[in-house]
Symmetry: C2
Subunit: 396 residues, 2 copies
Amino acid sequence: MIVRRYKEMLEEKSVIRTLSEIAAKRAEKIGKENVFDYSLGNPSVPAPAAFTEAVSSLLSEKDATQLHGYSPTLGIPSVKARIAASLNQRFGMHYGPEHIFPASAAAAAIAHALRAVVEPGDEVLTIAPFFPEYRPYVELAGGVLKVVPPDTGAFQIDFETFASMLGPKVAAVLINTPNNPSGAVYSAETLRRLARIMTEKSEEYGHDIFLISDEPYREIVFDGKEQPYVSSFYANTIACYSFSKSLSLPGERIGYLAVNPACPDAALIVNMCGQISRGIGHNCPSSLMQLAVARVLDRTADFTVYERNRNLLYDCLKEIGFEVVKPQGTFYIFPKALEEDAVAFCQKALEYDLVLVPADSFGCPGYFRMAYCIETEKVERSLPVLRRFAREVYGK
Amino acid sequence: MIVRRYKEMLEEKSVIRTLSEIAAKRAEKIGKENVFDYSLGNPSVPAPAAFTEAVSSLLSEKDATQLHGYSPTLGIPSVKARIAASLNQRFGMHYGPEHIFPASAAAAAIAHALRAVVEPGDEVLTIAPFFPEYRPYVELAGGVLKVVPPDTGAFQIDFETFASMLGPKVAAVLINTPNNPSGAVYSAETLRRLARIMTEKSEEYGHDIFLISDEPYREIVFDGKEQPYVSSFYANTIACYSFSKSLSLPGERIGYLAVNPACPDAALIVNMCGQISRGIGHNCPSSLMQLAVARVLDRTADFTVYERNRNLLYDCLKEIGFEVVKPQGTFYIFPKALEEDAVAFCQKALEYDLVLVPADSFGCPGYFRMAYCIETEKVERSLPVLRRFAREVYGK
C-alpha cells in the first residue's frame, strides 16, 4: 500500500536536477573547473558576516533552553514585530506582527498561502515563464495550475490573454518578480494594470481573488533600481519572502509570509497558516534562524558579482547574435535558443561542457535559462566556449 | 474565498494551548514562580554543550556558501550516513543512508510517513492514550484516525480490542513509546505481540500494514532501563525520530524518518518523502542543524532531573491516594482524576494555581497529564499545594 501519487511523481524527474547530476558526473571526470554549470540557482556569494555574528552572539548570550525552545505556532513575536517594522520602513506599509508568519523559505510560504485560499478544484493563474516547482505546489494543494503564455518582448505580462484567462474559477494569481527565469522586474505600470484587472474581475465575480507574490529575489535588482513593492498595489496580496538569496542562506529554509493589512482577512489568513502547519507537521522554521535573521533584516549578501556576470553574459550573447532581453534583476538570463527545440540545443551545448536549462518546464519552449550565480572568473572562461559552440554548431 | 477547512480548525482550540495561555496570564499577575505549570512538554534541561560547540565549529570551519547551501532533497548524504551508522551500532540494525530522511522533527516525519502509505479514506489505528496532534496529522493526510481504547492497567496495549479493530481498511498503525502522556514504555513482549498480529493480518488481507513509530522520547527511560527498538520487531516499520527532547532542541525542528531496511519498499518510501516535501514546500530541515546534530548523535541532555521529578511526583500522588501507574520514561505522569470529569477536576486545580491537562483529547477521559519537565525546586514546592487541593476539594 504505497501511495500512487508520490510514486508517480518520482518518474517525472526535474530537468534541472537531471542536468545538474550530469554536470556533477562530468565534473568528476574532467574537473569541476572545466564544467560550465549554469543549471542551479545556488548563491555563490557568502552570507554577510553580520549573519554569522548574529548566530554566534545568540549562542553565547541566550540561555539554551530559551534559544532552542519551541517557537509559538505563529512564529516568535519579537521576530514578527521586527519583520513588520522593516517592511513598513522600507515600503511604507502598515504591517503589524499579526500579519507576518515565519515560514521555511518562500516554498513553504507559497504552499501555505495556496492552502489558505485555494479550495480543491480552484484555478491558480501564473505567468510564463514560471518556476517549475509551482506545479507541485499548486497541484498538491488541490488546485489546478493555468499558465498565461509569455510576453517574450519584455517578459512583463500579456494582459489581453491574462484578462481572458482570469475566469470565475480562479482563486489566486501567483507571480514572481524579479522573475526566475527571465530576470525581468515587473514595472509599477505592470503591477498597477494587474491590480486593476484583478479588482474588476473580483467585483464582477463577487468573490476575492488573491495575489500570491513570490519574492525571493526582491533585493537583487541591477543598475541601481528597485523592485516596486507588489503588495502596495493590491489589497488582497500575500507576499512570500525568503532569505535564501538575499542573505545567501538557501539551506537554512527561512523566510516569511506577509499578508497585506489592507486585506480584510489578513490576520485570519495568518492564523490559518498555523493550522495548515499542524497538518503537514511543518511547524515553524528553526528558532535560532528566526532570531538570527531578525537581527540582520536589512542586510544583504554582496550582489555586485551577479551584476558583473549579467553584464558579461548579456554582452557576449548579444554579440553572438542571441535574441535576449537584458535581465534587470535575479541571477538568471533567458535567451532564445539557436534552434526551435531548446532541449536539443541544450543537449548539444552539453558536448561543450556548457550546462544550460531548456525552458519547456518553465512554460516557454524554445528558450533556455542560465543561472549565473557562479564565480566571475568562470563566466569569463565560458565566453569563448559559448562563442565556439554557436559558431561550430549554428554557424553564428 | 478563504478555505473553510482551516478556518474551522481555528475554532477547535487545543486544550493544552488554552491552559498554557491561562497559566501565562496568571503568571503575569502572581509571578511565574507561583504558577505550577504542568501543561507543556517543553524541555527544561539545556542542550548539551557539545551541541553548541558543534554549531560554533561549523560556523568557523566551513565556507558559508557550502554550510548554508541547499541540502539535497533527500538530506545531506554525510548526515544520513552518520545517522544510519549510529542506529546500526546502537540497535543492531542494517540501515544505509538511503533509508534515512532528515525531517523537521517527529511531527514532519509522521506527516511524511502518513502521506507515503495512507491513501485517502484509509484507516490509521492508534492506541489511547495518544498525542492529540495525531488527529490533524492523520486527517490532513486524508486518513481516518481510529483509536484503540486504553489498557489503563499498565498502559501497554489491549490486544483483543486491537486485533478486532485491525480491519482490511487499516493502512498503518501509529504508536508512541515511551508514551506521551502515560510515560509507559512498551515492553519487548508487547512489541512482539503487536508485530505478530500485524503480520497475520497483513497476510490475511493480502496487503502491507505499516507500523509508524513515533520515538521522540526514545532515550528518556528511567531506572537504567532501555526502550526496546521498535523497528527490530517488524519489517514494515517507519521510525519517526526527533532531537527535540533528546538534545533539548524543540525549536530547531530537527529529526528524521528511518525506514527499516527489511521493508521491501524502504528506499522507495524515502524517495517518495522527497516528493511529499516538494508539494508542501517543506524541503529539508536547516542545513546547519542537520550538520550539527550529526556531530552529537549519541549525546543527550542530562535527564536526571526528569527522573528525580518523576520520583517526587509519583510518591506524592500515591501517598495522596491517586490511582497512577509509575512512568518508566518521558517526562509525563498520567494519574486518574479524583472525580469522573477530568475537565472539571483540572478546572478546580487551576484555582490552586496547578495547571493540569485533562486527557479527553488524549483518548482517555477521566485522566489527566502532568508534564514535569520543570525545575525540581518547583516540583517540590507544588507538592504541598497538590496535597492541599486533594484534601480541601476531595477530602483526601
